[in-house]
Amino acid sequence: MTSITDAPESPLPFGSARSRKTTGHHVIRWLRANLFASITSSVISLILIALLAKAFVSLVQWGYWNAIWSVPSDQTGACRSIRGLGACWAVIPEKYRFILFGTYPFSEQWRPALATLVFIALFYVSSRRRWWRKELIAVWAAALILIGVLMWGGIAGLTYVSQDRWGGLPVTLILATFGLAFGFPLGIAVALGRRSKLPAIRSLCVLYVELIRGVPLISLLFMASVMFPLFMPDGVNVDKLLRAQIAFVLYAGAYLAEVIRGGLQAIPRGQHDAADALGLSYWKKNGLIILPQAIRHVIPPLVNTFIAFFKDTSLVLIIGIFDLLTTAKTSIIDPAWQPFSVEVYVFVGLIYFVFCFAMSSYSRQLEAQAHPN
């Protein structure tokens, strides 16, 4: 795979542009080789340049030139008068605290902010190859406990904040991270179960994976929000966020199981035979020999699953949990700011993009390391 910044060597012999003898300054040489190699290519380039220039000009006009960056509180008259011609970025400084942290008590919002930073540090540490060892599990446990303490409080002089006041980016990160942290072991167990020789366990795992993967995530979330209380005994009331979290764990488990199964299938038979010959038990064989190799094989597709999963957490909007997208959508219910939802969506889209782009470039980097050619 290639990253966005380096031009790929085209594998298709569409024209023999690169072999043509070129003279002149290197910029001109580059232009001739890459934009004006043939008549067709030149026409395409010219059309694209014209379109891009037009799009760029109108984007700059809307987003910068005509944009309004601040207005006195809730006086959006100036913004309304330029609607469609210029962006009203004033909505972002007005609403960003609510978008990022929801209805978390205003004076305590440093806590979710700190929790977000802990999450980011945790992701960074987990992505470094030299940190891939057993201690990482302890680091994860410690970080998740720390985040719980920060969000809930109630000890160490922090006031208690119940889950229904949580919102915004921390909720998105919590749903994604806890979903993966619990879904991953579940996925491993199910993947092993699906390749087991025991027919009852195998069919149970197949049933689980195919049922979850066969239906849309929304129906799982409806199940968690509507059906879950039906299945609980009297008096047991599970919090809405926790119910959604359970649905996400089950969902992640099924998808991760399929990715891990792919890795298990890539392990040659000889590895199993060798482990058996050493007299290792089933658990030792898988834990020490098979799984470490299998998971290493599938790290890039695993990261892709993580990205998909991170984006999928936004679906909790439909069952009314205040994640980043829901707070964004709620922040513009305010009549004064209602017409400026595009600006808010651009802002939130940028946050999602930064996280996903970081993960996808990381995955590309890993793939490049795995296949140097």
């Binding site: 966005i4 031009a7 395409i44 340049i49 366990i201 929304i218 129906s219 997208l325 595009v342 996808s360």
Partner: protein, 395 residues
């Protein structure tokens, strides 16, 4: 079985005894299945108890009751007085309507972007890369809400944008010229489908004969007769009318033509652009998986480039492309359930309304699951059949 009797008792004993490994396996299975059955049984008994407390009768009898829910955008005749079962059928048609058209458009656009990504034109390949990266890294739901908001921000019907004659884009959605579909028109469409099937059979037959005797046989006269002649004949004999009705602005709304409601249009755009980004990557990696040597070898044989792409590279690339493409089609179909967020009434949205009106949560969710499992199974079966057809046959 040998005839030496002294061995027999020992053998029999051996056959009925299990070794240690099998015993452990059996124990594990009993344990896991036991836990699963216990959990399901516990949940089920809780559910029965809760339902009886809330006086909700289980079963699908509610499907016959009057739905009383309005459905704005539908292809089938429907009124709120119709029973729930009718509402569900309308919802399923709405889901299929967005999924099928979405799959066709996403495949076309995705393939183009995937090929553009490999272009030797730097600008084109960079733009395709930006398209893919931008759309893949933003949640689909956010994109859907974004398109919907843009759609609502369009001018009113009176000031609608008119990119070409007969096409209007306004906050009422997209209005296109249309052909009224009568029974005769349907027969003509059926004739085209029959012609396609006949042509396919004929092509196989001609290919087999060409392989047998080496003589080149042309397909196009048959194609002309079956795809143009036959439908024209049917159309003429049934007197089908093909006059195009142009939409017209009367008062505050459009009359005539085909209207794509803003909800449907926003959902379609979001699904198509999002999925096309993934399809582009699949197509790109599929073509890149074909070694350059294949191109060179074909060129050395003096084959023309188009022939090489059609007969050598594409058939091989398809083997790499089809399996991940299947899962993208399944994803698109499942993602169409996001319709509920913009108020397009697909089957999930209707099930959700039903659930809120009747409290029949288990039945409503079971219906959603049934519908999607059936659609998924249908797509999987078709794609597996196609995959088996194009798979490498090793001799």
């Amino acid at each position: 079985m040998t005839t030496s009797t002294p061995d027999l008792p020992r053998r029999r004993r051996q056959r009925f005894s299990l070794n240690r490994q099998q015993l452990v396996g059996l124990a594990w299975q009993i344990l896991v299945v036991g836990i699963a059955v216990a959990i399901v049984g516990w949940l089920w008994s809780n559910a029965l108890h809760n339902l009886s407390v809330r006086r909700i009768s289980t079963g699908f009898a509610f499907l016959g009751r009057e739905a009383g829910m309005p459905i704005a955008d539908t292809w089938l005749a429907y009124s709120p007085k119709d029973p729930y079962v009718r509402a569900f059928i309308v919802g399923i048609v709405n889901t299929l309507r967005v999924a099928v058209i979405g799959i066709v458009l996403a495949t076309a656009i995705g393939t183009l972007i995937g090929i553009a990504r490999l272009s030797s034109n730097w600008l084109l390949s960079r733009l395709a890369a930006v398209y893919v990266e931008l759309l893949r890294d933003i949640p689909l739901l956010l994109q859907l809400l974004f398109w919907y908001v843009l759609m609502q921000g369009l001018p009113a019907a009176r000031a609608a944008w008119k990119p070409i004659e007969g096409v209007f884009l306004s906050n009422r959605g997209l209005v296109l010229p249309s052909v009224p579909i009568a029974e005769a028109n349907l027969w003509v469409i059926a004739a085209v489908v029959a012609g396609l099937i006949a042509l396919y059979v004929l092509r196989r037959h001609l290919m087999a004969r060409q392989v047998a005797d080496g003589k080149v046989r042309h397909l196009w006269p048959y194609a002309l007769a079956l795809l143009a002649g036959l439908p024209a004949l049917v159309s003429w004999s049934l007197g089908a009318s093909w006059t195009v009705t142009m939409p017209e602005l009367r008062g505050f709304n459009f009359v005539g033509g085909l209207t794509l409601a803003p909800e449907y249009f926003a959902l379609l755009i979001a699904l198509v652009t999002y999925t096309s980004a993934f399809i582009a990557e699949i197509v790109r990696s599929g073509i890149q998986a074909i070694p350059r040597g294949q191109w060179d070898a074909a060129a050395a044989l003096g084959l023309r480039r188009r022939f090489v792409l059609q007969r050598i590279v594409l058939p091989q690339a398809l083997r790499v492309i089809i399996p991940p493409m299947t899962s993208q089609y399944l994803n698109l179909t499942k993602n169409s359930s996001l319709a509920v967020a913009v108020g397009y009434q697909d089957v999930v949205s209707i099930a959700n309304t039903t659930l809120n009106q009747t409290g029949q949560a288990i039945e409503a969710i079971a219906l959603i699951m049934m519908v999607f499992l059936t659609i998924s199974l249908g797509i999987s079966l078709f794609m597996n059949w196609y995959n088996a057809r194009i798979a490498l046959v090793e001799r």
